[in-house]
């Protein structure tokens, strides 16, 4: 085929251009360390790289989230540790205080030690994290959750919510426990306790309120659980003392019916609860043994008409466990002198109730602390999984878009040779002309 001079020139320059642009491409790859510089170099790889990038970013997000979750949970856990210590100390003091050889003055000094523990418990309950947010207020973390009200009791101002954080793709972890869970709950299976005093039901707050102290000197021991499968097990009961027409003391066990919010004298099977004449039912040990709803309690001493003993389930909604109220009651009873039988009985009974309450509170705090520990462990495991995943993503990303330097450098030399060859060919061809020989 006939070749024109223009074709010779154009072919050579086209070849030069092509070699140069390919050479430039390889040097660009080497300089950036990337095989895929523009999406057009490998559209599938570029698009998948976007996806892998996103997965990496999400994994990083969760890692950050785990850091702050761990902070919150670890702080809660360490505060609960201190609370545990405080409750154990309080229990020890109460055991000491229940010795009969102590005088009023001795008891007062124990009361002041208890007061110190009480104040420190309030301080721990109102602990903040480093940013000034209260740990145990639920969602209401901008104000102290436990506030002393005018009547000297501590009220909970927070709410019942738990803040969660997303620590992994499908795991929302609660990162704080609220005040109700820690200080105003009991673990399941906590049993029953008894409290002496005159109680009425306040419908507005759905709680039992004490509105008077017993005048007699009845003390109780127990209550013991006899039969958890009893139909009435779980209800709250009350032993009500009255006097009949002849002036004899009578007692009536009543059950609190949550449906009607009243005290009923029958159980759920509509059978009569234990009642009768006090003096006639004393057993050979000198105490009145009562059994109802699967629970048994022994009463000793002589009551006055109108005295009441509340026998409530530990986690009852109407009695509402409250660590601070327990401490307040213990301090009150230790501070006042026990100079008459009624007060002595009140001292015995209140210490008994308070020790049971503290046991339940201790179990509860330990349980919550255990769950915090479990969560910290889980965070560690998720961290390990997450960092493995991150490694995988980095590897995948590198496989997709990074340059294989060995390949690239040998291609670079190849292209360099190609370019030099094209340049040489151009020079040679230019020199071939018939006019040179004329």
């Amino acid at each position: 085929m006939r070749i024109s001079s223009v074709t010779i020139f154009e072919t050579s320059t086209a070849s030069l251009n092509r070699q140069q642009s390919e050479f430039l491409k390889v040097s660009q790859q080497i300089a950036s360390g990337r095989r895929v510089v523009n999406p057009s170099d490998d559209p599938q790889a570029a698009s998948r790289a976007v996806g892998v990038d996103q997965a990496q970013a999400i994994t990083e997000q969760f890692k950050d989230s785990r850091v702050s979750a761990r902070n919150s949970v670890a702080q809660s856990e360490s505060i609960m540790n201190s609370v545990t210590d405080a409750v154990i100390s309080a229990k020890r003091l109460l055991v000491q205080a229940s010795s009969d050889t102590l005088s009023d003055v001795d008891r007062e000094s124990i009361a002041s030690e208890l007061k110190g523990l009480y104040e420190s418990m309030i301080g721990q309950a109102n602990a903040t994290d480093g940013n000034g947010r209260y740990l145990f207020g639920g969602y209401k973390d901008n104000a102290p959750p436990f506030v002393k009200s005018a009547d000297g009791t501590v009220q909970y101002q927070g709410d019942n919510n738990v803040r969660e954080q997303r620590v992994d793709a499908s795991r929302l972890m609660p990162v704080n426990d609220n005040g109700i869970t820690i200080f105003k709950s009991v673990p399941s299976g906590a049993g029953y306790l008894a409290e002496s005093g005159k109680y009425s039901f306040d419908a507005a707050s759905n709680k039992f309120e004490r509105n008077g102290f017993n005048q007699g000197n009845v003390t109780f021991s127990g209550p013991q659980i006899r039969d958890v499968n009893n139909e009435d097990y779980g209800s709250d009961f009350r032993v009500n003392v009255a006097s009949d027409i002849g002036g004899n003391l009578t007692y009536q066990v009543e059950r609190f019916d949550t449906g009607t919010s009243t005290w009923a004298t029958t159980d759920t099977a509509s059978a009569n609860l234990p009642n009768g004449d006090w003096a006639n039912n004393i057993n050979e040990n000198g105490s009145l043994s009562l059994e109802f709803g699967g629970v048994a309690i022994d009463l000793e001493g002589t009551p006055e008409p109108g005295d009441q003993i509340l026998v409530a389930q530990a986690g009852s909604e109407q009695r509402e466990p409250d660590l601070f109220r327990t401490m307040e009651q213990a301090i009150r009873v230790l501070e006042s002198p026990a100079d008459n039988p009624a007060k002595k009985a009140d001292l015995r009974n209140t210490l008994n109730t308070s020790m049971r309450d503290l046991d339940n509170a201790l179990d509860n705090v330990l349980t919550v602390r255990a769950s915090a520990g479990a969560r910290l462990n889980e965070l560690d495991v998720v961290d390990a999984v997450g960092s493995n995943r991150m490694l995988n993503y980095t590897q995948t990303l590198s496989d997709l878009v990074d340059l294989d330097y060995a390949d690239a450098i040998s291609e670079y030399s190849l292209r360099q040779v190609g370019m030099q060859a094209a340049q040489k060919a151009f020079v040679d061809i230019k020199g071939l002309s018939l006019f040179n020989y004329m």
Binding site: M1, R2, I3, S4, S5, V6, T7, E10, T11, A14, V37, N38, P39, S40, D41, D42, P43, Q44, A46, S47, R48, A49, V50, G51, D53, Q54, A57, I58, E60, Q61, F62, D64, S65, S68, A69, N131, R133, G137, G138, Y139, K140, D141, N142, D159, N161, R163, E164, Q165, R166, A169, L172, V175, N176, S433, L434, F435, M438
Partner: protein, 639 residues
Amino acid sequence: MSMFTIGLSGLNAAQSALNTTSNNISNVYTPGYNREITILNESTSRGTRVEDIQRQFNTFVAEQLNNAKSQSSALDVYSNQVTQIDNLLADRAAGLAPLMQEFFSSLEDLASAPSDPAARQGVLGSANTLSAQFRSFDGYLQDLQSGVNGQIKDEITQINNTTTQISYINREISLARAQLGEAPNSLLNQRDHLISELNERMDIRLNIQDGNTYNLTLPNGQPLVTGDTAYKLQAIESPNDPQRVIVGYKEGARGNGNVVALDEGLISGGALGGLMSFRSETLDKTQNQIGQLSASLAVAFNNQHQQGVDLNGDQGKAFFNLGQSNGYFNANNDGNASVKVAIDPDNIDALRATDYSIKVTDAVSTPPTFEVTRNDNGSEVETSFDAASNTLSFGGVNVEFVDLNTAQTGDQFEVQPVRRAAGGMDSAIIDLDKIAAASLIEREGDLDISQLSAASGAFTSNDEYGLDVDNAGNLTVTSATAFTITRNGDPFDPATEALAEGDVVNIDGLSFTLDSLPGAGDTASLNISRSDASAGDNRNALALQNLQSQDIVGGRASVSGAYAAIVSDVGNRTNIVQVNLDARQGLTDQLNAVQQSESGVNLDEEAANLIRFQQYYQANARVIDTASTIFDTILGLRS
């Protein structure tokens, strides 16, 4: 005949041949030059004569080459333009994906510390950066649009120049043919060269009439050059979209005809065709995709933000602003209706990355009927029309007609819901307290429902609603104030009607879907109340963060998935164009070589010709010399 005349004829021939050869040599690099060869023939009266200075030009090869050049030029222009978008998406560290990731990461910080001002500021900061990047992307693409508009105008000016020149040359050639019987080669070369240049600008059809006259037409048959008359193209605003420059054709050669808009897909070859293909295939689509991404993100975020409460206790307001959706009436409409376009925030899943064309199929019926097609694939979409507000709804878009009663059958409208959405994306919140990290709705109860959400303005009249539903679907509502309740959009009277499974119930702006009715003899209850705006409540922040994993773009892809799709589309398109260009270029180079082998000058060949014709001249001169010597001999006989 004497030796003199014979020799003379040879000399003349040699001179002519040498002239031709020197012409070839001097024009070796002239673009459009076709080499000439001297055709010698035996003269009838002995000797030789120059039959013709024949121009070596093959019409068929020329036509093939012009077509190939037209395709290559189109692909070349396309490739130049699309590479700009490719380069824009190339930098993985500075693109949209890392900024979106940073935005969601800042939401994670907000979820861990909802009332912390530093975390809130982080969210605002990253939202602003993200919006700025969306705006800059859209700005870049919009610049490309203006660039394409400008280049179309330039190409059309050049095309008009060329067609005018071709018409002049046609005239010169026909005059020369009339005078001299044949046209000078230089004029023919010039005309063919102009036509080759014109083919590189746009694809045209060449019609050679009587083997002599060149007539050019558009691909649809409309004449461009007829003899010595040139028709003009004009760069006009598209009747559908005043911001778009398209090619118009001026009927009537003397400049006094109408300008008719040419269909955008008509011209597909040459630089002009490349520009138009690039614009309608890639640029519009990429701009719409970026717009759809920003619109989906903004609307989904705004919807979720509305489900939250800010630090002031108010329901969350719109977090992002979006660019306006555009709607245009066709300039050729007989009626006077116009359109206002808005994205429907409740139907964001149906939003697609395309423009739409609306045609009024029947303007006189009540309600009027419309036909709506997607511009990217021409398929028709289902619509629903609300006669009370004159609003046509389809594909996540609400189109409100203004002065609909003046519209005529056949009127057309163009709707661009997401084209400029990214260009106006902005964060609407500047006050840290207004970020709604806490949840607005507290829900209690065992009624089986899903998709509980609050519209803007919920809980304004009342803070709490109690609903009880029994097995038959009878509903009792407890509310401190009067309320309005709808079921599936229609008013519902709880006293007379009953609910069924799957119903969407809306009470004073709070809506939910009833998944199942309670069992026989049971009554399930639902208590919806406004939550307290606690500082530590991070539920809405968690939900906002979770948007990154949900399929919010078109109901099918997450935001990063949609972005990866854009990268893949552009990368694929660039790749395909480059591959096609290389293939076409190879073909064009081949055809070039064929054409050059026929019409190109080879300097070595001409050098040999020079030597040959020089010898020829010398030989013929020697003939005359010999004849002269013979004559002298005869003359010298007498003495």
